[in-house]
């Protein structure tokens, strides 16, 4: 009992005040004699809604008054009465008094103390006195329109008796009617969403009077409205629903599975019909007979029970007699009418605003940001401190406006989530599972556009959780888990974005099954699958055409889905990740930006032009000197690749991807690299400079350059110039075409080695004119061309001064064939000659090895069978179909250690 009830009343008040305002306008229209039919329709609807609701809350005066005016309006509408000055006066007076009553309810929680008798009598007299032969027999207090059934919701009268105002609908065609229907639909959809949630709640807590009340109210108001609009099927089923709810409310029926199912089916049917109406104005062919029977059966059962009344003395004699209902409702309200007093009326603190207006405001705020940016730029260039002050203030204001406007576009995630408990309930019961839904942080707000984008993906994920994630009850029991499974939805703000987590405590994703499935589907080979880590295997569910459900059910498991989920989330700049533990559960995590209109980007310079790269795609920014760059650079079958932190990634020059001609081509002195992520693809682009990190208002691109595929839009920079925003997916596709195939092969062979043999990265050199040799790349410190003048003899061995260090240089060829230490010493070359020296390191020592020429780096599978300590070989690798030794540096250095190196160390004053 609680604030929730207050909330219902608050809502009622807000709506009622709004309808009253509309009513006033309509009355004025009516008086002018324009468009009277739709005006009457609108007034009737306003009054009817107020009546339906307040009757339920037990606001007797208000109900009485609205009943009287409704009767009058029904006559006006049916043509049984002409609109006259007197009727309009009376209706205007009704309007005023109704307002008074509402205000009183707002202030005191009740509607007593305002005299309405006279007015009601006046209305009655008008209706009676001037009643003329009408299309249907008219009785003042029993007009046999839908209003009758609304007033006496549970008389059990069969729906077929409800007369059809459909003819009227036809005469009312036009914008006004369309508007009324539109409003009706919008309200109904909203109400149905709420109803679904309430029903789920009710199933859990069957005694919750407030929830029953709210559901009743929903059904009732839909019934009332559609009755007026002539939607017959809706009337019929909502009428039955109302009857059933009434029985529940009075305590004659209890909410069991059957009732909940029936009412949920009702909500569905109502929704389908509303959707049909939305699309073509007709109710369409929604099957309601079965539903009607179902509801009737439930009502019959309940009524029978009632006939043999249970022990409670409070049980009403007749299910629908209004008085006990009112009392019951009043009881529910009375405990805290005081709390209403403190709150200002909702109608004064909220307004409805057209979404388009908000959109326009958003655009203007965006432009304001641009103007601010330009001004700031000018201020920075100016020496006048006043400029700085002004722009600083403007800055504050602009940021504020932007933030507030953004807020108007935010909606709580609840709007999307509200339907999930229902989905989970229905799915789990159809699958014979017992699953509860726990929701946390459903008031977390995010942008409408983002909301729209994640709606379907989330539904899909939830279906997956229920279908594949959570085990059948017996399985759970056998595993020693709680029989009831849990699906947890959790949303929260983090780092300027929104995180949504969907967790289930089901069986988790078994990586072995995934691997097997991937192999069976031909997505991976057996070997490829085996070398995936468990985490990577789990990520395979995002692979196109992947589904692990052992049986394809109608719920999910058609293998379309998770890849779509991923691409949809990524499209709005979000990221999806999955963590799953077998037997424990699965957590899906989505991180999304708050909004899609303003995005943080990195601006880069490519051949003098500015491009923007969204932050979310940037994994890392790297600045490399020429040498380091050279050492990390790889050529894989002609395509460039970069080794960085254990990954081989395609490397591409931004100017090449974009087809801009530039002079610079090789490795520059300083290289700016961005490691970018687009989906699963990671790649590196080289830009000429990284300029700034800014927030830009991205404008959509015209179709003309949407076709190009590498831009998501353009934005105006602080100086008024234009930056193109790069589309990572498009760019990745472009890069992929050029390089990725080889890189993939490379990475595969890299991965393959972990299974078939150790994979090794080597430096290939010519040992002499005939033999090649390789060095493990991780032992290579650097490669140098050393001119003869850098060489020297120290204590019988050759040393070279390389990069400021004195390094012993040995002749590798000699070292491998001779055991005589003195043979190893590299010949001192002629002064003007140049030698290739590979400087290797091991155990803190550096040794130079003279080779004939340095050829390439590559990744190979090491065959340890070829190991030979005499040649200081770790094994061999295949290069161009020939076996080549991999030099065992450790052994080599150890060999040299006893001899020359220590000698050298001593001569340099170093300790061994």
């Amino acid at each position: 009992m609680s604030s929730e009830f207050d909330e219902i009343i608050q809502e009622f008040l807000i709506e009622s005040f709004e309808s009253l305002e509309q009513m006033e306008n309509d009355l004025v229209t009516l008086e002018r004699g324009e468009d009277s039919e739709s005006a009457i329709a609108s007034i009737f609807r306003a009054i009817h809604t107020i009546k339906g609701t307040c009757g339920f809350f037990g606001f007797t005066n208000l109900e009485l008054l609205s009943q009287a005016s409704e009767d009058l309006l029904a006559l006006l509408r049916g043509g049984g009465l002409e609109v006259s000055k007197a009727t309009i006066d009376a209706l205007l007076q009704t309007h005023d008094v109704t307002r008074d009553l509402l205000e009183r309810i707002r202030d005191t929680g009740g509607d007593t103390g305002i005299e309405i008798g006279e007015l009601a009598a006046k209305l009655g007299a008008l209706a009676k006195g001037e009643a003329q032969p009408a299309p249907e027999p008219v009785e003042v207090h029993e007009p046999s329109t839908d209003a009758a059934s609304a007033r006496e919701p549970a008389t059990g009268s069969m729906p077929s008796k409800v007369p059809e105002p459909a003819v009227e609908t036809a005469t009312l065609m036009g914008d006004d009617l369309a508007e009324i229907v539109g409003e009706f639909l919008a309200e109904s959809f909203e109400a149905l969403d709420q109803m679904e949630q309430d029903l789920i709640k009710l199933e859990k807590h069957p005694d919750d009077a407030e929830t029953v009340a709210r559901i009743f109210r929903t059904v009732h108001s839909i019934k009332g409205n559609c009755g007026f609009l002539g939607f017959e099927k809706l009337i019929r089923i909502s009428h039955l629903g109302e009857n059933l709810l009434n029985l529940i409310r009075s305590g004659s029926a209890t909410v069991t599975r059957a009732e909940a199912d029936g009412l949920l089916a009702l909500a569905d049917a109502m929704r389908s019909i509303c959707k049909n109406i939305e699309s073509d104005g007709m109710e369409g062919s929604v099957e309601t007979t079965f539903l009607a029977q179902q509801l009737e059966a439930l009502i019959a059962t309940a009524s029978m029970e009632e006939a043999a009344p249970p022990g409670q003395g409070t049980a009403p004699a007749k299910p629908a007699s209004p008085s006990p209902k009112k009392k019951a409702a009043k009881k529910a309200v009375s405990p805290e009418p005081q709390s209403l007093v403190k709150r200002p009326s909702g109608s004064e603190t909220t307004v409805r605003v057209d979404v388009r207006v908000l959109g326009e405001l958003m655009n203007l705020a965006g432009e304001l940001v641009l103007v601010r940016n330009r001004l700031r730029q000018m201020a920075l260039d100016s020496r006048d401190s006043q400029w700085h002050d002004i722009t600083a203030s403007l800055d504050v204001v602009t940021t504020g406006i932007q933030a507030e406007v953004m807020k108007t576009r935010l909606q709580p995630i609840r709007t999307v989530w509200s339907k999930f408990p229902r989905i989970i309930r229905d799915l789990s019961s159809s699958l014979g599972k017992n699953i509860q839904c726990v929701v946390e942080g459903d008031d977390t707000e995010l942008d409408r556009a983002v909301m729209e984008a994640i709606k379907d993906p989330m539904t899909h994920i939830i279906r997956n959780c229920v279908d594949h994630g959570i085990e059948a009850p017996d399985v759970r029991r056998a595993a020693g888990k709680v029989v009831q499974g849990t699906v947890r939805l959790h949303a929260y703000h983090e780092a300027g974005g929104v995180v949504v987590e969907i967790t289930d405590d089901g069986g988790g994703i078994d990586p072995h099954k995934i691997r097997a499935s991937a192999v069976a589907k031909g997505i991976l080979t057996k070997a490829e699958a085996d070398r995936l880590s468990d985490q990577d295997a789990q990520h395979l569910i995002f692979h196109r055409g992947f589904s692990t459900a052992s049986a394809v059910t109608n719920v999910s498991g058609r293998g379309v889905g998770m890849d779509v989920v991923k691409s949809k989330i990524e499209k709005i700049g979000g990221i999806v990740d999955i963590h799953s533990e077998v037997g424990v559960g699965t957590k899906l995590r989505m991180c999304m930006p708050l909004t899609t209109a303003i995005i943080p980007v990195i601006t880069v310079d490519v051949a003098g032009q500015v491009f923007a790269i969204p932050h979310v795609n940037v994994v890392e920014m790297v600045r490399l000197g020429a040498e380091r760059m050279g050492s990390l650079l790889d050529k894989v079958e002609g395509a460039s690749a970069l080794r960085l932190r254990g990954r081989i990634m395609p490397l591409i020059r931004a100017s090449d991807v974009l087809g801009i001609e530039t002079e610079s081509d090789g490795i520059a002195q300083v290289n700016w690299l961005l490691v970018l992520q687009a989906g699963a693809e990671r790649f590196v682009i080289i830009v000429d400079a990284i300029i700034d990190s800014v927030e830009l208002v991205v404008q959509g691109v015209d179709e003309l350059f949407a076709d190009i595929g590498v831009y998501t839009g353009a934005a105006i920079l602080g100086d008024g110039s234009i930056a193109l925003v790069l589309d990572m997916a498009g760019l990745a596709a472009q890069v992929h075409l050029e390089t990725s195939r080889q890189i993939d092969d490379e990475q595969e062979s890299l991965n393959a080695a972990t299974v078939a043999g150790e994979l090794i990265k080597v430096l290939l050199c010519d040992l002499d004119a005939t033999e090649k040799v390789t060095f493990p790349l991780d032992t290579v410190m650097w490669l140098d061309r050393v001119s003869g003048s850098q060489f020297d003899h120290v204590g019988g061995q050759t040393v070279a001064r390389i990069r400021g260090e004195t390094i012993s240089v040995f002749d590798l060829a000699a070292m491998r064939v001779s055991t005589d230490v003195s043979d190893w010493v590299a010949k001192r070359p002629a002064q003007d000659a140049e030698e290739h020296v590979v400087v290797v390191g091991y155990d803190g020592r550096r040794v130079g090895l003279r080779v004939h020429a340095v050829l390439d780096t590559m990744t190979c599978v090491l065959d340890p069978a070829g190991a030979d300590s005499a040649r200081a070989s770790l094994g061999c690798v295949m290069v161009d179909e020939r076996f080549v030794d991999v030099v065992d540096i450790a052994q080599l250095i150890d060999r040299a250690k006893g001899g020359f190196i220590e000698q050298l160390d001593r001569s340099q004053g170093r300790r061994p």
């Binding site: 974009l658 003309l704 350059f705 190009i708 590498v710 110039s721 234009i722 193109l724």
Partner: protein, 144 residues
């Protein structure tokens, strides 16, 4: 654009301009504004007629050069071209023209509409005192 209500005498105002050897026209109501030539931000990989982007009061607008589209020689390009900003259904587009000419008023019925089957950029023609005017459809300019 219509000065008279009746169909027979309905008049259309057409802003005419020169591109290379031809006189073109667009309905005046489709003209947002004229601006003098300014530097364009190029769009790499774009179709050749999309010669760049300009900033029109905070909006990014595509600039279309028909000379490039038609593959005309660049030799006789006047030094000061004019940027004609047109309204399309979805936004703005900038047409680069050699020189603006007069606004002419013609009767609707005098316009020879291009048959629908071959309707493209040029929606019709009309002869004026200045010569034959090729009427451009602003909607189509972007869809080239």
């Amino acid at each position: 654009m219509s000065a008279r209500p009746t169909a027979e005498t309905q008049r259309v105002h057409i802003a005419t301009f020169h591109i290379a050897d031809h006189l073109y026209g667009v309905p005046t109501h489709a003209v947002e504004q004229l601006i003098s030539a300014r530097p364009l931000a190029p769009v790499p990989l774009a179709p050749k007629q999309l010669v760049g982007l300009i900033n029109v009061r905070g909006r990014v607008v595509c600039s279309i050069c028909l000379r490039t589209y038609f593959g005309l020689s660049a030799e006789d390009v006047p030094e000061e071209q004019v940027f004609l900003i047109l309204r399309t259904g979805t936004g703005l587009v900038c047409l680069i023209v050699d020189k603006m000419s007069d606004v002419v008023t013609v009767e609707e019925r005098k316009i020879e509409r291009t048959p629908d089957e071959i309707k493209g950029l040029v929606s019709g023609t009309v002869s004026t005192n200045e010569g034959l005017v090729l009427l451009l459809d602003p909607q189509k300019v972007l869809g080239l």
